[in-house]
């Protein structure tokens, strides 16, 4: 197991190098220039040249890449072109905001969605099943920004229960901080549980058709036990993989939700960085996100055998 992990981590290094080159080139191939954006319509040739030199953009691409990657290897992600802030602490701070929302949302979503998915499969073709599937489909079809705005209008504006704008971090004031996280978490829970319900339902359906389930029932095992003890471990595998992908997706930034609820998260950092052509910020974020995907995937692979021993052999 340990050796397996080491091998996985080792094999991800070429991926990261490739990613770093691609990010570096792609962001530079996009038209637009950070110096120009900084100066706007006031730019003159001299001032552009001066700002480009300050940003180190007057060097050749290979030189720029080598400078950047050697800094990264020393743990220095450089400084933002826009604000001059160091990028590594900025990413960590922003990631903290995203992480606190995403983790709570994923846990709540799976606690709600997994039982619902199994119940829908168990009661297949009943009115309950149709109702649950319809609801799940509706939820997964609603874009997150729309869901977010609806919640904002309901809880923030109509009922006045929750603050509409602003953000207080949990470390500064835990109680108030939580208030600002409720709506983003509900948004993610609603949007993501739709997908999870559908996934859990279909994999449970497949498992319930198998002979060993009929065998268990024939033995006289109760329905609750059949579902929990026999069906769940086998049906959960595909959903776990999906949760891994979902986690990677969400952790790499829920830019839309962050924008609607004015949360200073990783997604907004990246999107703002792209609009401003803030090369170091975009490069730093993307490298971080690529590593994140690798870590999440390794993590999910590591716990997979707990639910499905067959995976260990593969």
């Amino acid at each position: 197991m340990f050796l397996h992990l080491v091998r996985r981590i080792g094999s991800s290094i070429p991926t990261l190098i490739l990613v770093s080159v691609l990010i570096f080139l792609l962001i530079r191939l996009v038209p637009g220039d950070p110096a120009q954006l900084l100066l706007g319509d006031l730019a003159t040739e001299q001032s552009l040249a001066r700002v480009r030199q300050q940003m180190g953009l007057d060097l050749s691409y290979p030189q720029q890449y080598l400078i950047w990657i050697s800094q990264v290897l020393q743990g220095d992600f450089g400084h933002s072109i826009q604000t001059g802030q160091a990028i590594a602490p900025m990413i960590i701070q922003r990631f903290g905001v995203t992480l606190s929302i995403v983790l709570v949302a994923i846990v709540i979503a799976s606690l709600i969605a997994i039982p619902i998915g199994m119940i829908a499969a168990w009661k297949q073709n009943s009115r309950l099943d149709v109702g649950l599937v319809t609801l799940a489909t509706l939820l997964l079809s609603i874009p997150s920004f729309w869901m977010g705005l609806l919640l904002l209008l309901l809880f923030g504006l109509q009922l006045g229960w929750l603050p509409v704008v602003g953000y207080v971090s949990l470390r500064e004031d835990f109680h108030t901080g939580l208030l600002y996280l409720i709506m983003p978490i509900i948004t993610l829970v609603l949007v993501e549980s739709g997908t999870l319900v559908r996934m859990m339902r279909s994999s449970t359906l497949e498992v319930l058709r198998l002979d060993y389930i009929s065998h268990a029932r024939a033995k006289g095992v109760g329905e609750a036990m059949v579902l929990a003890r026999h069906a769940f471990p086998n049906a959960f595998g595909p959903t776990l993989t999906l949760m891994g992908i979902m986690l990677g997706n969400l952790l790499s930034g829920i830019a839309v939700v962050e924008t609607v609820f004015t949360l200073p998260g990783l997604g907004r950092l990246l999107v703002d960085g792209i609009y401003a052509r803030d090369y170091p910020v975009v490069q730093g974020c993307m490298l971080f996100i690529a590593s994140l995907y690798i870590v999440v995937n390794i993590g999910i692979d590591a716990i997979h055998p707990l639910f499905d021993p067959r995976v260990k052999d593969a």
């Binding site: 220039d33 040739e45 001299q46 709570v104 904002l152 504006l157 109680h175 609607v260």
Partner: protein, 516 residues
Amino acid sequence: MKLLACIPLLLLCGLTSAGAAANDTITVAMNADIRSTQPGVNRDGNTDGVMMHIVEGLVGYREDGSVGPMLAQSYEVSDDGRTYTFHLRQGVRFHNGETMTAEHVVWSWNRWMDPDTQWRCVSDFDGSSDLQVTEVTAVDDHTVTMTLASPSALFLANMARPDCGAVAVIHPDSLDENGAWREPVGTGPYKLEQWNHNRSIILTRFADYTSREEPMDGYVGGKEPRIGTVRILVIPDPATVVAGLQAGNIDVAPISATDARALRNASGIKIDTADNGLRNGLLIQTNAPPLDDPRVRRAVALAIDTEQVALGSSEGMATPSNSNVPISSAWYGEVQRTGYEYDPQAARELLAEAGYNNEPIEIIANQRPKVPSYDVAIIAQSMMQAAGINARVNTMEWATQLDRYSSGRYQMMSFTYSARFDPALMFEQITGDKTQEPRKVWDDPRAQELIQALSLTEDTGQRQALVDELHTLMIEQTPLIFLFPGVSIAAYRDRVEGFAPWFGESPRLWNVSITQ
């Protein structure tokens, strides 16, 4: 799941805490964070707007774009036009309690002009352009003289520029022991309390602020910090701003015309507008066919109904004008009122005469929420098509459009020029040699001569004559078509008193108070 259990409880706490803003705090929404706290160095429009609450210069801009004294009580110019003597106001205090003297003015000037500071306006004062300041001296505690290499009508106008931080007079405490920037210790009505990157900027009242006696006028005149705490929240999403205003979480916010219409009947919210110094128009690349023919350009101008474009792309809030000088400027007069008469028939005739053969004309536009670029382009497109011009809009992301603007690679472009207060600077923005500066739109030697004269002439009457001639020439040659100046639209809660949008785009929070 402990957290799940707390949610109902938290919802209850929310009932009491949300929406109840403190009486001595005003909350202002801003669409993006400031870039730094160092005025005129790493900045954008938002940064300038916030900084003008914290620092002040010797002079500043008035409401109509003319220059007035701020930290200077008065100033005079020597007969040869080369020496400016500033008499400082006495008893003005910095945020750290120290009294401002001439030494501070000289120290600040040297700090800004030091190349290591990377002040953006160095090249405007060091002789790179026509203007060169050769000497700055403290004559006594309350008098400073500044000497120029040759007379310039633009010296004070440049000194007052918000993007230069109004050449802020700052205290050396603004720097740390290594000479690096720490925070602005200025003389403005509010102090910088806290900057939470990408979240908020907190300003607090500077209790020892001594106001000028004149009424408030632009960035000068009387200023009173009537509010204890100004909370500027960074909120990128306009829909969230609207919800925040309605919920009472936000007191003041610049908003778009579309949102203004939505909020028009909302209770407890007032909306005010003012024409500002931005200018919206259609740029034309004059060195490629078919638009290199002045008749084709004129036909485009005649095909466009300026009034309809202005009103249609601003929910009826903008004032139509083909002038480069914005309506609220002191330099906007009878001549500037003249422009293009909407006449599609005449446009068709001109096109036939020029031999226009349905060549496609691309109009580049962007969809940033702050500017009407896209709406203007779409309306212009249909008007041009109606007059027989094969126009089509191409929407781009802003960075890409800016790249095209700077390199001159476009046929037409729906563009918004940033504000300039002096007419010489306004025309300098659009005029120049395209081979040297591809971003310049109007490449005409006569226009450049007139601008040169404008930057040397002090006399108001003579300057107005030059501005008028420039306008007439611009309309005649049609290197671009100005359609309307920008509109500052502000929404604010009715508990806010004394707030008004103005010529500058950024909200001013001095002389504003909150009623219970």
